[in-house]
């Protein structure tokens, strides 16, 4: 069969999930793109701090700084929202994620049987806003993300990708922390919450 380069083939290729060896290197390119285009280091969680400094009236030292000088970071966050919208609306096929068999079995063990979409609708839906589990996962989980990233001084992008890319020892320690917390939640707390 001749390989035809057509718009249809291209759209078809784009619409399927991208393998790690395509996505990972593009994410890695965020590092030089930030440095060369913006002269800033790559990182996202600081945007929470900028919003906090901008909208919450306070006298706390940590929130008294010129957040407007870093407003590009908020625009970057807005771009993520836009890009995700474009990808979900126009560049995706509506198929469940190809999870490993072991992961599917584990999800079913948690009582999560609907594996359609990117996030489990049985946990993250407006219609479940009255459920303690949904409130816990969304609100307490979000709180921990905001608190923890500021305490650690970065998230997966700022520490794990940017920090490790220029061999920062604090970033290596932070990544050990990310996995300490993640493994405690995954192996100890989630099984308790889902029983």
């Amino acid at each position: 069969m001749p390989l035809t380069l057509s718009m249809e083939n291209f759209v078809n290729w784009i619409s399927n999930p991208w393998p790690w060896y395509v996505a990972g290197p593009i994410i890695g390119l965020m590092v030089p793109l930030h440095l060369v285009m913006l002269n800033r280091t790559f990182g996202i969680s600081s945007s929470f701090r900028h919003v906090c400094a901008a909208v919450v009236p306070n006298r706390l030292d940590f929130l008294q700084y010129d957040w407007k000088a870093e407003s590009w970071n908020l625009v970057f966050a807005g771009g993520i929202l836009l890009g995700a919208f474009i990808a979900a609306q126009y560049l995706s096929i509506d198929e469940p994620i190809a999870l490993s068999a072991a992961a599917v079995e584990r999800m079913n063990g948690f009582g999560i049987t609907d594996l359609s979409g990117q996030h489990p609708v049985q946990l993250f839906s407006w219609s479940l806003i009255g459920s303690w589990k949904t409130l816990l996962f969304v609100i307490f989980g979000g709180f921990l993300v905001g608190f923890g990233t500021r305490y650690a001084g970065g998230c997966t992008s700022g520490h794990a990708i940017m920090g490790l890319s220029h061999f920062q020892l604090p970033s290596f320690v932070a990544v050990l922390g990310f996995f300490t917390g993640g493994l405690i939640m995954s192996w100890i707390l989630l099984p308790l919450l889902f029983t």
């Binding site: 990972g24 994410i27 390119l29 965020m30 030089p32 996202i44 929470f48 906090c52 909208v55 706390l60 940590f62 929130l63 590009w72 970071n73 625009v75 970057f76 966050a77 807005g78 993520i80 929202l81 836009l82 890009g83 995700a84 919208f85 474009i86 990808a87 979900a88 995706s92 999870l99 992961a103 996030h119 946990l123 969304v138 989980g141 979000g142 709180f143 993300v145 905001g146 608190f147 500021r150 305490y151 650690a152 998230c155 520490h159 794990a160 920090g163 490790l164 890319s165 220029h166 970033s171 320690v173 922390g177 996995f179 300490t180 917390g181 993640g182 939640m185 995954s186 192996w187 989630l190």
Partner: protein, 137 residues
């Protein structure tokens, strides 16, 4: 100009987070349970490309597009806060299934309930700011 470039980079990043399923709760659970190579491959290859890029930028003396010397600030050497804060973040990452970038991407891709997670995250920053002097760093 900076804002236009930031918007372009953000859009590209948002597309990748969806297309590579990095924003998926399922993928994050799979990662922490060591049931797939997917997320490790993504983060690992991103770091390799990032490190190569930093090396090239430093050894070539490339300047930013505005013509300035590129500054790569070192992270503050606060190891206690890196570990303890990292652990708190890790707990939240495994609960929400998302770090900050994917939280924004989830809102954009239709899991709009995550606006509450972002709002709670901003409250989390405020609480950290209020307690900062009393926490070990």
């Amino acid at each position: 100009m900076k804002n236009i470039l930031a918007l372009i980079l953000g859009t590209l990043f948002g597309i990748i987070l969806v297309k590579a399923e990095v924003l998926s709760w399922f993928r994050i659970q799979e990662m922490f349970a060591f049931q797939s190579f997917h997320m490790y491959g993504i983060i690992g290859s991103a770091v390799v490309i990032g490190a190569l890029s930093v090396w090239i930028i430093r050894s070539s003396g490339i300047r930013s597009i505005e013509g300035n010397v590129i500054q790569i600030k070192d992270k503050a050497p606060n190891y206690k806060s890196a570990y303890l804060g990292g652990t708190v973040f890790g707990l939240g990452w495994a609960m929400t299934g998302a770090c900050p970038g994917p939280l924004y991407a989830l809102i954009g891709s239709g899991t709009t309930i995550m606006v509450l997670a972002v709002a709670a995250g901003i409250v989390g920053v405020y609480v950290y700011a209020a307690l900062r002097d009393r926490l070990p760093h």
